[in-house]
Symmetry: D2
């Protein structure tokens, strides 16, 4: 679907904790995988942006954990742009269990553009044009 | 200060990423260290609760990243209870740089109580009494 | 190839450190992904073994890092059994860069079988028969 | 003791896995904390070396896991130099449980010096003089 990216991943053993579920900090890493893929699919390599001195640190993250993800489960992480401005972009994320489509978590993450000195800068026009917001496909 | 807990930690090399700053997922781990200490200081060992079959998974997390944390910096993570109900507790967190007191990030995390089958249960009375909410000491 | 398992993975941003390369601790996690797949491909689900009270902690790991792995690089992790005894199995690992086949690292990891009380036990006959050692395909 | 450095740390919840013990990859991170402290105690800040374009990637790591480390346990990581050459230094590590002094793991890690292009270089004389080898205080 246009405007939506999806990555698949399997919960790693090292990502579990002694509660027997994936530790909640990993969801931010999974969202990052989906954002990276989002850019790649639109022809922008994050590696290339970094080579130009651009970085996109996360300035806000909001995750709702609904159901636990467990070791070895296959997950789908959906990702889309919710909003984009000259210096900031907000992504939406939905993490689902592949097997039954159950929604495990939703998340919003906001990133800004900074230069190699970590000073805020504008998102390059070329990149911003690829970040086309769509309405949330699910309620976050 | 009553109702406030503070842990100190040093940013680990393994916590940095190639942006040269601490990766944003680590902040959730740092908040967890402060929550654990909060309980301990009030006489509740999380280990003991787990031995009784109780677990406290995170169901919501909201982090605002204001300034980057860098390798080897000494950080202070403050933690307090914002709100507590029969099955859910919300913590507030402030992450500061020790050297100059600069506020690097704020966060809210909500946890629920579940039993060993991961079914929602009530927070034991003994624990709930220790989770005394205070007004936010800083704006989250 | 019989006796050899291979998994592919892409270096995650969160796996890099400020040296601009994948942090060396991640290689152990990648080796674990390959061991898990090794078992799966032979019909043994690690999840099922755990449900039977069996666990396979790592008791020794030896990694030689030859060339750095970098963000977003596609890697191949090869895995095979070097040696198996009643209570211990040793795996060999080779981590290669997909693009040019360059060898980035080699590793040996040894696991033992323990029961749910973490007491050493014998590897079930059914599992041991699947762990068929082969000569090292490359020098470790 | 001269030539020996010791750091204390507490096993984090996020460091456990569903086996109920600290995941084995974390031991490499703990060893790194001890190496960093080793340098600091001798007046060398790793941050400063990096600012000069020097990096010290790990080229070999060998860990023997003897007993599991568990959540919230206080650990001591001892670290010393085993051997130093113009381009390579080998550290020894012993990880002990604080409470009873039990030895949980031993490790050897070797690092080389590289410049900002990741080309091997010599360890600066000033640094090498601080890396004074001692006989292993325990058998690795």
């Amino acid at each position: 679907m246009k405007g939506l990216t999806c990555v698949e991943l399997r919960v790693r053993y090292a990502e579990t904790d002694q509660m027997g579920i994936a530790h909640h900090a990993n969801y931010l890493i999974w969202c990052e995988l989906a954002r990276t893929r989002y850019m790649e699919e639109r022809g922008v390599e994050y590696r290339d942006l970094e080579a130009q001195g651009l970085r996109f640190p996360v300035v806000e993250a909001h995750v709702r954990y609904r159901l636990p993800a467990r070791y070895d489960e296959l997950l789908r992480v959906r990702c889309w742009v919710r909003d984009v401005a000259s210096r900031r972009v907000e992504f939406g994320h939905a993490i689902e269990r592949q097997e039954d489509g159950e929604l495990l978590a939703t998340a919003r993450t906001s990133l800004i553009a900074v230069d190699s000195n970590h000073a805020i800068t504008t998102i390059p026009e070329k990149v911003r044009k690829l970040l086309a917001p769509i309405p949330d496909p699910i309620r976050l």
